[in-house]
Symmetry: C2
Subunit: 190 residues, 2 copies
């Protein structure tokens, strides 16, 4: 699906299921021991429409290059572009459906957040998430931390956002069947 | 205004002017030469309501601790909390109205983004923005970069978000009256 394919027709109906899943999403809740360095998770896709870009920008980032095609054409972006915070929010939506950590996705700080290319009306976004680190917490024996790089790509395979985030991940309870409670896949010393 | 003060009554009507500006916002467009290390900008305030927290989370961060009071009470957050991406988006809204850079606020990468405390329904947020660096671009003579730390505070003075962001800032055109076109306030070597 390209920017020519009816950019206005589908404007990010987040209540609906995404239309073209890239890979099967993770369907069971993940504990620290289920994660290992180098694991890669895909995501569903999300098409962003021009009305949605303007709505988000009107509420949170009211600048001409996110709101008005003519002014955007004369700006540094050379055309209408989504707010980077909109891209970040869509990325979170895709991440919640993709990397299903037990107890939810709880951030413990970001290392990187950048937007190398603008997101344009009609773009179809998806994620590639790579596990970079997995380590038990030294202060909380019931949890650990994982560092994940989420790369948000458009339909041309171009990177529109890179986010490296540290997530809190619970360890599997000792009494859970089949668990290896205190041995994360790739432990690292603190 | 505290969380007891009608958290549901005002749910972030972003079209309206904020009700209690902390300090006068910057009203003229800023060029690189207008910025200097140590400058501090305040912002208007923004009260966030429970309905708005759930609406944003339902669209972009559909996790129980952002959507359901009872489940949130049992979560790591011990109560309903706004999505960090919602806090980031509100911060952008306040920043656009506060630090009026000529041509708009265009990010060139984040150094820090973290959420030390949850944002709760009814919280009233404001920014303190400090200029940390100002330097001319070595590759683009018409612009420079500034590093700004935006601290988002609640009504108790507690920090709910820290964002350190690098912004692209144009240099004042040579023909503009009163300008000192090529002498930024605090130039630094590359």
């Amino acid at each position: 699906m390209t920017t020519q394919d009816g950019a206005d027709a589908v404007t990010g109906d987040l209540a609906a299921e995404p239309k073209r899943p890239q890979r099967p999403a993770q369907r069971t809740d993940l504990f620290l021991g289920d994660l290992s360095v180098g694991q890669i998770f895909g995501s569903a896709t999300y098409q962003i429409g021009v009305a949605e870009i303007k709505r988000f920008a009107g509420e949170f980032d009211p600048q001409p290059f996110h709101l008005d095609e003519a002014e955007a054409a004369r700006s540094l972006f050379s055309g209408l572009a989504a707010s980077g915070w909109h891209t970040a929010a869509i990325t979170m939506r895709l991440l919640v459906g993709s990397v299903r950590i037990s107890g939810g996705i709880v951030g413990a700080g970001m290392d990187v957040l950048r937007w190398p290319k603008p997101v344009r009306p009609g773009d179809t976004l998806r994620l590639e998430c790579e596990v970079l680190e997995v380590r038990p917490s030294t202060s909380h024996p019931d949890r650990g931390l994982t560092k994940v790089r989420t790369t948000t790509l458009n339909q041309h395979g171009e990177t529109v956002q890179v986010l490296v985030v540290n997530l809190v991940v619970p360890r599997r309870p000792r009494d859970e069947a089949g668990a290896c409670p205190l041995a994360p896949a790739q432990p690292r010393s603190q």
